[in-house]
C-alpha cells in the first residue's frame, strides 16, 4: 500500500501554492453554465403558485382553467383541499408550459379558496408568544445560586439576532426530465450531487440506478441546497406528464427569499458573574429562537467558554408562521458567539476591565486554551488593540466614534466520506473523478493540486471531473467537510493509480516498482533522475490499458491516517466607526486569526475567510428578514431592502492563517464555516466600545443604533 501521508511541507511542489481557481476565468467571463442557465431542446418552463397567507386552510382548488390554458402541459398540485398552510409563500401548485409566459398566466387561472387562520410571525417578545413557545427545561451545572451569592460582579443583558435569509444568487430549482423508460435526468443546483440522486429516486419512487445527476456549478448554497425540494419533485412529475420533456423550475427571487432557506433567530437574557479578578463564575440564560413553524434552532451557549463552572439555562423554541430554517454556514454558531461574546464584553465594561484581558483571563474555560490565548494576542497585535482600544464610550468629541471588539469561534471541519477515481490513460491524460461539487470555494482547484502533487505533475496536467453521479460517491458539502474528504480520497486514488503505473513501468526502468517515484513530470528510480521516463513515455507502456483506481476517505479512519482531521478555533477583532448623529456604522477593519491544518491552497483558504467576514458584516449591520404583522408576509423579499454589503461597505480585511509545521501535521481541516462565526460578535462589541452602550438587537442599522442611543430600545 502506498504511503498516503502528505509530503513534508518543505517538499511540496504544488500543494501550498497560491493558485487561482481553475474555473475562475470561466466564471468571470460568463462561460460557466449553471443549471439555471440550461435551455434544453424541448424544455418546458415551470411556474410556482404560492399561498399569500401566513396561516390558512385550502378549502378548494380548481385547476381546470389553468390546464386548458394554451401551451400548458400540466398542473401539479402539492397542497390539495384540506392542507393547512403554515407560512406565507408555501407552495400550492406548479404549472409547466411551453413558455414562461404561458406558465405564469396559467398560474393566475388556478382558483384556490382559502380559509384564513390567525397567524403569529414575530418572536422578539417572548411574553407575547408564550403559547407558541416550547421550553426545553432548565439545565443546571454546578451551583448557580451559590455562585451568584459569591460573585463580585454580576452583569445582565438582553441580546437578539434576527432570522436571516440565505439569499443565494442562483435561486433554488432544477431542470428535470422523467422519461417513459422510467429514467430521471436531474440538473439541480445542489450542495449534494451524490445524495440528491437517492433523495430524488425515493421521492419519485424509481430505482436509484435510474437517476442521473449532473451539475457543473452552483451559485451559492450556504447550507440551503441539499434536497430535491417540492419544486424538484414537482418538475419530475410535470415532465413525466409531458412524456419526458425536460421541465425547468427555478424559484422567483420573491419566493426564493422567503421559503428557500433562512437561519434561526436567537434572543436571550443573560446573566454573567465573575470574581474580583474577572474570572467568570456563572452563566445564566433564558433564550429563545424561532426556526419557523417547525421550530428548531438552539444556540450552543455559553459558546467556546463552555466550562463556566456554574450554569443555569433554559431555551424555548418558538413556532411561528414562517418558513422553516435550513442549515446555514455554521448552524447556530454565529448566534451563540454573538450572545456569549456580547455578554462577556458587557461584563468587562461593567468591571471597567479591558475585554481582551477578560477573554484572555478565562481561556481555561475553553477547550483550546493555548490556541485562544495565542490567537487573542495575535489578533490584538494585528488590530493595534493597545493603541486603538479605549474604555467603553470614552471615544472623544465629535459625532464619529471609533471602537474595537472581539468575537471567537470554534468548528469541526473533518473530511466527509468521499471516493475518488483516478484514470491514467496510455497517452498520459490523467482524470480525477468524484461525485462531489465545487461550491465556489475552489474544490476543483485543490483536487487538481493534490493530484498533481501526488503524481509529480502540474495542475494543468490534471482533468478534474466532478458534479456527476457517474463518478464515485462523495459526501454533501456541508459542515466544512468537503476539502478534507476530497483531498484525502484524491490523494489515495492518485497514489493507488501511480502504484499501478509503477508496476507497468518497472521493467523498462530495470528497478522494482517499489523503488520508483514520480517527480517533475517523470517516473524515475528513486533519487536517480538519470534512470527515468517522462510521464508520457511511461504511460505509453500501458498499451491499450487505462489504469483506473479509486481511493476513499473513511471518516472513521481518517485521524490515524493523518490526511484530515477536525477541530479549530479562531478569533476576530473588528474596528468600526459609528456616526452617532446618523447611526451609521462603518467598517474600518476586521482582523481574523484562524487556526487551520494542512492548507492546500492559501489563496482559496483566505478567500473563504474574506467571504465569511463579508457575510458577517452583512449580518451585523444590515441583513434582516422583515415581516408584516398584519399580513404575515415578508416585506423585503427582494435584494433591495434585504440589504447586503457592497464592496465599499466592508472596509479592510486582514487575515492571518496559522500555517506552520505543527498545524500542518494535523492534516486538512475545512475552513468554510469557522471564519463565518465570530464576526457579528466582534462588530457588535466594537460598536458598544465606540458608542458606550450595547445595541442589543442585531443588525446595527441606523434605526437600532439611534434607538439605543436615544433610549427608545425597549
Amino acid at each position: 500500500m502506498p504511503e498516503y501521508r502528505w509530503p513534508e511541507m518543505s517538499k511540496r511542489k504544488v500543494m501550498g501554492k497560491r493558485l487561482n481557481r481553475l474555473d475562475g476565468v470561466e466564471k468571470a467571463s460568463g462561460r460557466a453554465k449553471y443549471s439555471s442557465d440550461l435551455n434544453k431542446p424541448g424544455m418546458l418552463h415551470g411556474a410556482t403558485l404560492v399561498c399569500p397567507y401566513a396561516h390558512a386552510r385550502v378549502k378548494s382548488i380548481d385547476t381546470s382553467a389553468a390546464e386548458k390554458h394554451p401551451g400548458v402541459t400540466g398542473v401539479h398540485v402539492v397542497s390539495p383541499a384540506g392542507t393547512e398552510i403554515q407560512w406565507a409563500h408555501w407552495e400550492v401548485a406548479f404549472v409547466a408550459a411551453e413558455t414562461e409566459l404561458a406558465a405564469r398566466d396559467a398560474l393566475k387561472k388556478i382558483k384556490v379558496e382559502y380559509e384564513v387562520l390567525p397567524h403569529v410571525v414575530h418572536e422578539k417578545d417572548l411574553n407575547k408568544v408564550q403559547s407558541r413557545a416550547k421550553a426545553a427545561g432548565e439545565q443546571i451545572e454546578g451551583d448557580p445560586d451559590q455562585a451568584l451569592k459569591e460573585a463580585a460582579v454580576v452583569s445582565e443583558g438582553f441580546y437578539g439576532i434576527p432570522v436571516l435569509e440565505h439569499s443565494c444568487l442562483e435561486p433554488h430549482g432544477n431542470v428535470v426530465s422523467w422519461t417513459p423508460d422510467n429514467k430521471v435526468e436531474l440538473n439541480p443546483t445542489t450542495q449534494a450531487v451524490t445524495s440528491i440522486r437517492g433523495d430524488m429516486a425515493r421521492a419519485v419512487n424509481v430505482p436509484v440506478a435510474n437517476v442521473h445527476v449532473h451539475q457543473d456549478h452552483i451559485g451559492g448554497g450556504f447550507g440551503s441546497k441539499f434536497q430535491p425540494d417540492r419544486w424538484g419533485v414537482a418538475a419530475a412529475h410535470l415532465s413525466k406528464a409531458a412524456g419526458g420533456r425536460p421541465v425547468k423550475i427555478f424559484l422567483d427571487r420573491q419566493i426564493e427569499q422567503v421559503i428557500a432557506g433562512c437561519r434561526p433567530s436567537a434572543f436571550a437574557r443573560i446573566k454573567l458573574a465573575a470574581n474580583k479578578e474577572g474570572k467568570i463564575t456563572l452563566w445564566e440564560s433564558q433564550s429563545w429562537a424561532t426556526g419557523g413553524f417547525t421550530g428548531g434552532g438552539s444556540p450552543p451557549i455559553p459558546y467556546v467558554y463552555t466550562r463556566i463552572p456554574n450554569q443555569r439555562k433554559n431555551h424555548s423554541a418558538v413556532s411561528t408562521n414562517t418558513a422553516p430554517i435550513r442549515a446555514w454556514r455554521a448552524p447556530n454558531h454565529p448566534q451563540a458567539s454573538y450572545l456569549t461574546c456580547a455578554a462577556m464584553d458587557d461584563l468587562a465594561a461593567k468591571m471597567k476591565m479591558d475585554p481582551l484581558e477578560l477573554f484572555l483571563k478565562n481561556v481555561d474555560l475553553t477547550a483550546r486554551a493555548d490556541t485562544y490565548e495565542r490567537q487573542l494576542k495575535k489578533a490584538a497585535e494585528m488590530a493595534e488593540w493597545k493603541k486603538l482600544w479605549h474604555p467603553r464610550g470614552d471615544s472623544g468629541r465629535g459625532p464619529l466614534k471609533r471602537g474595537l471588539g472581539i468575537g471567537v469561534c470554534t468548528w469541526g471541519g473533518a473530511g466527509h466520506d468521499s471516493t475518488a477515481r483516478c484514470n491514467i490513460h496510455p497517452d498520459g491524460t490523467v482524470e480525477v473523478e468524484l461525485g462531489s461539487q465545487d461550491l465556489g470555494t475552489g474544490t476543483r482547484t485543490v483536487i487538481a493540486q493534490v493530484a498533481a502533487e501526488s503524481l509529480g505533475l502540474r495542475v494543468n496536467d490534471i482533468r478534474v471531473k466532478i458534479g456527476d453521479t457517474n463518478y464515485p460517491p462523495s459526501g454533501t458539502s456541508g459542515g466544512s467537510t468537503t476539502v478534507g474528504g476530497v483531498s484525502s480520497s484524491t490523494r489515495k486514488a492518485t497514489l493507488n493509480a501511480l502504484e499501478k503505473l509503477f508496476e507497468e513501468v518497472a521493467p523498462a526502468l530495470g528497478a522494482p516498482a517499489t523503488e520508483l517515484e514520480a517527480v517533475d513530470g517523470k517516473i524515475q528510480v528513486k533519487g536517480n533522475p538519470a534512470k527515468s521516463l517522462d510521464w508520457k513515455a511511461a504511460c505509453a507502456k500501458l498499451g491499450v490499458k487505462t489504469i483506473s483506481e479509486t481511493g476513499q476517505n473513511i471518516p472513521r479512519d481518517a485521524p490515524k491516517e493523518g490526511l484530515n482531521t477536525g477541530g479549530v478555533g479562531g478569533v476576530q477583532i473588528a474596528d468600526v466607526t459609528v456616526d452617532v448623529e446618523t447611526g451609521i456604522v462603518k467598517m474600518n477593519r476586521i482582523v481574523a486569526v484562524q487556526d487551520c491544518g494542512t492548507v492546500i491552497n492559501p489563496k482559496t483558504a483566505e478567500s473563504q475567510i474574506y467571504g465569511a467576514i463579508i457575510m458577517s458584516i452583512c449580518g451585523a449591520l444590515m441583513e434582516e428578514r422583515v415581516l408584516d404583522a398584519v399580513t404575515g408576509r415578508m416585506l423585503n423579499n427582494e435584494m433591495e431592502f434585504y440589504k447586503l454589503a457592497g464592496i465599499k461597505d466592508v472596509g479592510e480585511i486582514l487575515v492571518h492563517l496559522e500555517i506552520d509545521e505543527i498545524n500542518d501535521k494535523r492534516g486538512v481541516i475545512g475552513l468554510g464555516e469557522p471564519p463565518a462565526i465570530g464576526g457579528i460578535a466582534a462588530i457588535a462589541n466594537a460598536v458598544a466600545n465606540a458608542i458606550g452602550v450595547r445595541v442589543p438587537i442585531v443588525p446595527m442599522t441606523p434605526m437600532n443604533v439611534l434607538n439605543t442611543l436615544s433610549g427608545r430600545m425597549s
Binding site: K648, D649, T701, L706, N707
Partner: protein, 325 residues
C-alpha cells in the same frame, strides 16, 4: 409581466399621440430601471409601452438664458458629471452621486427619476399607494421604518426622487407636453401627496411627457446631504437640499428642503427661519436642523428618522456654506 404593445417613436409629437387617457393605456419608457421592475411585479401593467429614448429633443444638458436646461433623457450620470451643473448647482451633483450604482446612473434618466414610483414595500407588493388590507392601515400597523415622518396622511410613502428636494430648493420649473400643448409647473408643485391609491404622486397626466427641467441661474450657495447606510444600491433614510442667498457672511434667505421624509420633498420654513439672518456655524446649523424636525410626527418605528433628518439639514447647511464640521 403582462404582454404589451411596444412603440419607439422618433418625435415628441408621435410619442404623445401614442399615449392614452388612462394610466393602464400606455406607459412612457425611458431608462426602464424602474418601469421594468414595476411591470415584472405587475404593479403596473400598461397595454402599450412607449419608448422615448429615440427622441432627440428630450436629450442633453445646456445653458440657456434662464439658467440650465436638463432634458428629460439626460442620464443620472450625465447630470453627475456635467461641469455646468457642478459649478452652479452642487445640490444636484450631490443628489446624483448617491443614486443607486454606476449601472443605474448610466441607464436611469433625469425625467425617469422625477417620475419614478415610490419604493414603499406595501405599494410594491400590490397594496396601493395608501395600503390597506382587511380594513387595516398597513403602514400604521405594520413596519414603517422607512416611511414618512411628515405630512398628515393618508399617504405615508416617501418621495423616492433624490433630485426632487434639490430642484425644489433651487426653484426649478418642470416642463410637460401633452397632445394639446405644453405647461410648466414649479418643482414644488409637481410632487403631490395623493389622497387615494388611484391618484399619482406627481402632477403628470397619463397623456403627458416630462420634456425638460429648467434650473434658474442663481447665486445661492446650495448643497445636498444624504444619509444612507450602504455606500451603493441603497436608498437614503433622509436627505436635505439647501439653497442659501448670502449677504456677506450671513444668510439673507434660505430654502431648506428635506427628502425621503414625506410623500413629497418637504419644504421646511422653520429651518429656513432658524438660519436666516445668521452666519452658518456648527451651532446655528444644528439649531436649524432641530427646527426642521420640530413638527415631525413619526410613526411607530421611525422616530430615528427624525434624528437623521435633523443631521442631514445641519450637514447640508454646513456644506453649502463651506463650514467644516
Amino acid at each position: 409581466m403582462q404582454p404589451f404593445e411596444y412603440a419607439s417613436p422618433k418625435t415628441l409629437k408621435e410619442a404623445l399621440a401614442l399615449l392614452g387617457g388612462g394610466w393602464s393605456d400606455a406607459a412612457v419608457l425611458a431608462g426602464g430601471t424602474d418601469l421594468i421592475s414595476l411591470m415584472k411585479d405587475e404593479v403596473m401593467s400598461p397595454k402599450r409601452v412607449v419608448n422615448i429614448k429615440e427622441i432627440a429633443e428630450l436629450k442633453g444638458i445646456s445653458k440657456t438664458a434662464a439658467g440650465i436646461r436638463i432634458g428629460a433623457l439626460a442620464t443620472v450620470d450625465e447630470v453627475l458629471s456635467n461641469p455646468l451643473i457642478r459649478a452652479s448647482f452642487p445640490a444636484l451633483t450631490e443628489a446624483a452621486r448617491g443614486v443607486a450604482s454606476p449601472q443605474i446612473r448610466n441607464m436611469g434618466t433625469f425625467g425617469g427619476d422625477l417620475c419614478q414610483r415610490p419604493r414603499c414595500w406595501y405599494f410594491r407588493a400590490g397594496f396601493g399607494l395608501i395600503p390597506r388590507h382587511e380594513g387595516k392601515d398597513l403602514v400604521a400597523e405594520g413596519d414603517n421604518r422607512y416611511h414618512a415622518i411628515f405630512g398628515n396622511g393618508p399617504a405615508r410613502f416617501v418621495s423616492a426622487s433624490s433630485f426632487g428636494p434639490a430642484l425644489v430648493a433651487l426653484g426649478a420649473k418642470i416642463k410637460l407636453a401633452s397632445p394639446s400643448g405644453t405647461r410648466e409647473v414649479d418643482a414644488e408643485k409637481f410632487f403631490l401627496a395623493p389622497s387615494s391609491s388611484d391618484v399619482r404622486e406627481v402632477d403628470l397626466k397619463p397623456n403627458e411627457i416630462l420634456t425638460e427641467v429648467i434650473v434658474p441661474a442663481t447665486a445661492a450657495k446650495n448643497a445636498t446631504y444624504e444619509v444612507r447606510q450602504k455606500d451603493a444600491l441603497d436608498w437614503p433614510l433622509a436627505t436635505a437640499s439647501v439653497a442659501l442667498t448670502m449677504k456677506g457672511s450671513t444668510v439673507a434667505s434660505a430654502r431648506v428642503v428635506l427628502g425621503h421624509v414625506a410623500p413629497t420633498p418637504w419644504v421646511s420654513a422653520e429651518a429656513a427661519k432658524a438660519i436666516e439672518g445668521k452666519a452658518v456655524t456648527a451651532e446655528t446649523a444644528e439649531a436649524a436642523g432641530k427646527a426642521a424636525v420640530a413638527a415631525a410626527r413619526p410613526l411607530s418605528m421611525n422616530a430615528y428618522k427624525v434624528q437623521i433628518a435633523a443631521a442631514a439639514v445641519k450637514r447640508a447647511l454646513m456644506a453649502a456654506a463651506g463650514v467644516k464640521a
